[in-house]
């Protein structure tokens, strides 16, 4: 029964394992530190975008404030490490849990808001939190937190000589985010989220707990994004409010998913692989002159893709839907 469906699920999993294996091998051939840096960022944004996609893509609650959770993850890890000597691994978990709880606390009032108002609320809340951190002396206020560099070690997750540990962590994170999505796609949650996105009223009539579906998606999405934020804090070893909670992070999480295909399994990955290197390359090669040529190219590309492929680039790979021939042979008596 439903062989095609089972095959498609399995094919996705095999393809993912294959791509992950290729990605894992790339650093053996690419030794350039600058390129490696771009690869780390690409994988990180792929993971972030995949996580954002859970709430905004599958469940349809568009958030443009996910920088909040990214920043919370980064700050929790950095504060726990510098002030209390807590290892980043625990800080990562703590940051994730704090973000998940805050996502639900914010979701409680915000999920009652419809459509655009929800989006605006997410932006505003992230901006307010940014201001709070800029004025919070304990967290270093606007100056931020300098994470003291110690010996290279997996224990403290600090590496100054090589980017490879970061690369493999980011790869693992992207794989986890993808796998969680893959797994949930064929679960009660996955179906509930998509039903809530398409038509909350109909979903409710079919026994879907609309409110808790949104809460679950928000918590999971925030948790994973915060892990990304914790990672980023260790990766750059210096954070300040603007550099981990700025609006650009919210955008850079949303854009890959939107360009790749919002609410799809592969969209965020594909979008990140195209968009993030492009962002970095345009910035270093044609940016910097102060004229913003890089941003023009970048913006132009986004417009071009949106016009040509509004469903996202991932739709280029999907089989063409069968043309609607005879609608279910209406005339044949059942």
């Amino acid at each position: 029964m439903d062989k095609a469906f089972v095959q498609r699920r399995r094919r996705d999993l095999i393809l993912a394992a294959f791509l992950a294996a290729i990605a894992a091998a790339v650093p053996f051939f690419v030794k350039d530190v600058y390129v490696q840096n771009i690869m780390v960022l690409t994988l990180m944004y792929a993971a972030l975008s995949q996580s954002w996609n859970i709430l905004s893509g599958y469940c349809g609650q568009i958030s443009l404030g996910h920088a909040l959770y990214f920043g919370l993850g980064a700050y929790t890890t950095a504060i726990l490490f510098t002030k209390f000597g807590v290892l980043p691994w625990f800080g990562m978990l703590a940051g994730g849990l704090i973000s998940a709880v805050i996502a639900m606390a914010l979701g409680y009032p915000c999920f009652r808001l419809g459509g655009h108002y929800f989006v605006i609320a997410t932006i505003v809340i992230a901006e307010i939190t940014l201001l709070l951190f800029q004025n919070w002396d304990f967290a270093g206020a606007a100056l931020g937190i300098d994470i003291p560099v110690r010996r290279d070690s997996w224990l403290t997750f600090q590496f100054t000589r090589s980017k490879l540990p970061y690369f493999y962590f980011a790869l693992a994170l992207a794989c986890v985010a993808w796998f969680v999505t893959w797994w949930l796609e064929d679960s009660k949650w996955g179906y509930w989220w998509r039903a809530v996105k398409d038509n909350p009223l109909a979903a409710e009539s079919l026994g879907v707990d609309v409110f808790n579906s949104k809460m679950g998606a928000a918590a999971l999405s925030a948790f994973l994004v915060a892990i990304g934020g914790s990672f980023y804090a260790q990766f750059v070893s210096y954070i300040d409010p603007e550099s981990v909670m700025g609006f650009q992070f919210s955008l850079l999480m949303a854009l890959p998913a939107v360009l790749g295909g919002i609410g799809t399994l592969w969209g965020p990955m594909l979008g990140a692989v195209i968009l993030i290197p492009l962002t970095e390359l345009t910035r270093s090669y044609i940016g910097g002159s102060g004229r913003g040529v890089d941003l023009i190219v970048y913006g132009g590309l986004i417009i071009a893709i949106s016009l040509a492929r509004p469903q996202g680039l991932v739709s280029l790979f999907s089989r063409k839907p069968k043309p609607v021939v005879q609608p279910a042979r209406e005339a044949v008596a059942s």
Partner: protein, 243 residues
């Protein structure tokens, strides 16, 4: 045996407009009951109150011996009230089978079971050939059947059908009538809102006529259609003379 569904003195006001006034009806197990009446009679309001879309201003709704007046729609579905929408509300970005799986997940969290159940229901509704088509690609009559399939997947005791037979071609509506009969034959009670009298009347066991928010009359369809009050409600007083 107690009725499966009972409304007691339901009144619903919408800021000045009284859509339902003191409506008490009951639906027995295994019946097909038609809820009919001219436009603006309050059929849809009553229907939505039973499904739990909103709470009545006054009155009680009892289902299967339990007061469900305060329960939200999702919990009523879990207790066995399934519904369709007058304006179809398919999950457009999902395939037909996925639409139905959402319904079957009320009774199981095992995905294999949910999928098997969804296929069964689609076969029952004559839609299984379209299982992998996007809901947005269905023609209107198929969307109606998808609504029914989705509701059936929740394994309801009571199925509320909101004008599923309206606006169909004669062939389609005949197939719809057969589907409703087969649904009842599986032991599901059906309460249907319709205003196309000639389709509903041969199908239902009992008809309840609403007019101006009140129950005008209820009884066997053959008696109801001859009642002067019904004729005057539908056609105006002039036509009731001599009926």
């Amino acid at each position: 045996m107690t009725a499966l569904l009972e409304t007691r003195n339901i009144t619903q006001r919408f800021s000045g407009l009284t859509a339902n006034s003191d409506v008490s009806i009951s639906v027995g197990r295994g019946e097909i009951v038609g809820l009919i009446g001219p436009n603006g009679a309050g059929k849809s309001t009553l229907f939505n109150l039973i499904a739990g879309a909103f709470k009545p201003t006054e009155g009680q709704i009892l289902f299967d011996g339990e007061d469900v007046t305060a329960l939200p729609a999702a919990e009523r579905c879990q207790r066995g009230i399934g519904r369709t929408f007058q304006v179809v509300k398919s999950f457009e970005s999902m395939t037909v089978i996925e639409n139905v799986i959402v319904g079957s997940l009320v009774r199981t969290t095992n995905m294999r079971d949910a999928r098997r159940k969804a296929h069964e229901v689609l076969a029952f509704c004559g839609l299984d050939a379209r299982a992998d088509v996007l809901a947005s690609d269905l023609v209107p009559s198929e969307k109606r059947r998808l609504e029914v399939a989705r509701a059936l997947a929740t394994e309801p005791k009571l199925l509320l059908l909101d004008e599923v037979l309206t606006g169909l071609t004669p062939v389609e509506s005949q197939k719809g009538v057969e589907l409703v009969r087969r649904v009842r034959d599986t032991g599901i009670t059906v309460l249907m809102v319709e205003h196309v009298m000639e389709i509903v009347m041969p199908l239902v066991d009992r008809a309840i006529v609403l007019d101006l928010g009140k129950v005008l009359i209820e009884g066997k369809p053959t008696d109801v259609v001859r009642d002067p009050k019904v004729i005057s409600a539908y056609l105006g007083d002039r036509h009731a003379v001599g009926a």
